[in-house]
């Protein structure tokens, strides 16, 4: 195994994913195989190669920073699990 259980537990926390006990071994096994597989890249000779930034060598376009006014808050919040007065509700974060 290229990844330990502790490493996988740490990655899961960083990724904000709760893993059940019965899926943990499978995740460690398959994630290790994936990491071993992508490790093939280490053998590639890339000393003088610039990393790709954009498939067409173009720069990201910017737009003027102006309010477009096309956001309908009520329509968007209809998808939210819990809202009140236009705010999203979450468990208490401050005591």
């Amino acid at each position: 195994m290229s990844l330990t259980r502790d490493q996988v537990g740490h990655i899961a926390l960083l990724a904000r994913l709760e893993l059940q006990d019965d899926e943990f071994d499978d995740v460690v096994d398959k994630l290790s195989r994936i990491v071993d597989f992508v490790d093939q890249l280490q053998a590639a000779a890339t000393d003088d190669v610039l990393p790709m930034a954009h498939p067409l060598d173009l720069r990201q376009r910017l737009r003027p920073d102006v309010v477009s006014g096309d956001i309908d808050r009520e329509a968007i919040q209809r998808n939210a699990p819990a809202v009140r007065d236009g705010f999203y509700l979450v468990p208490k974060v401050l005591e």
Partner: protein
Amino acid sequence: MSDDPNAWHGRSLADLARGLEVGEFRARELAEALLARIRSLGLELNAFITVTEDEALAAADAADRARAGGTAGPLAGLPIVHKDLFCTRGVLTTCGSRILGNFVSPYDATVVARLRTAGMVMLGKTNMDEFAMGSSNETSHYGPVRNPWDESRSPGGSSGGSAAAVAARLVPAATGTDTGGSIRQPAALTGTVGLKPTYGRVSRWGMVAFASSLDQAGIITRTAEDAALLLSVIAGFDERDSTCVDRPVPDYVAGLSRPLKGLKIGIVRQHFDQGLDPRCAALVRAGLGVLRDHGASLLEVDLPNLDLSVPAYYVVAPAECSSNLSRFDGVRFGYRAEGAANLLDLYCRTRGEGFGAEVKRRVMTGTYVLSAGYYDAYYLKAQKVRQLISEDFRQAFGQVDVIAGPTAPTPAFALGEKVDDPITMYLNDIYTIGANLAGLPGVSVPCGFADGLPVGLQLVGPHFGEERILNVAHRYQSVTDWHSACPGGFA
């Protein structure tokens, strides 16, 4: 036969457009006939997540009225279905996931809006691998799609529902998305035509993002002509996608009949190495022979870093997905876990319960390769390898106009066969991933059958070379009839 509703489903979009134009049938009759097939055969294949019957009939009636009033565009009243990754106003968009199981988009994706404006009638939303992460449609929360050519087999993925629906003659055209082969591979495995345009040719706005530097919207049809017809509508600049390219859109249909004489086709030596099913190799070689017989010349080219494309992809795509999927937090939309003790617990449980196993693996792979101490070794290295692969294509396109070869290493495989082995599953995309890494357009066309299962021939062009690859695909289809074959039980 022309006025027989039982035969409409076998016709191409272009042919149906002529039927509507001359008043042979109405859009409503066509929609009703196809919806009836979707209700029975579509259910059998599990090709759909949502069928939009009421919306479809209303849109068909509107198209009929526009035709009667002389205000209809050429595509008015023609049916289409959308992969359930495109946001559709007022209709469920699940992306094949539990976490979006209740998500109703307040807006249309640009692709959906353009086809709607052209008068096309949406019949439903197709099943897919969860968040487009899969090559077999088995990662869908809504169950796998069955391949109409053999229902014990996978239709490929991730746009498996779209491909199966088109192959089974439930609809003449479907949208799809292609991040590593998700349009072309299912097209190959179902005997349909799958077009992935150049990165930036079609707006990604309103597509649920997977890997933003690789994702591209495209089309699955039965003919290259139909793909050209639809690409002419969906391609073009959109200010709401910052990577969408501002460049004129040619009339893709006009260029279809150009002769192949003088065309230089590159055959990639590495494509025929071990790993390619010999039956597929023979059919692809025969397909290349057909193109040569019709005036094209075949030249050998090298893509020396082809082997590195799958590992590079499985660093870049998961890295981008781990970032894109961070938005699913149980706060603003989608599924939320019950009874969380605090905010961290809410995030972890919502995501743990809402995502399936493959999505979790990719998010975690991405988190790992981007984490402190590993970024240079994985992500930066992969982006350098990606540059090498793009350079290989650049060199090849200095010598040839089009690169042709296999789309997938095998015909359709059995459901369950590869689901437990992620690496074997990932290697399905060995021939398609390069085009995504380099941002190139590609199309898969049916080129024969291996023991009753369809096989695809892939044509890849240089950036914005859609006109030429569609032209070659169309010429190929005008002298072959593999695309006319219909799976048993779906005629």
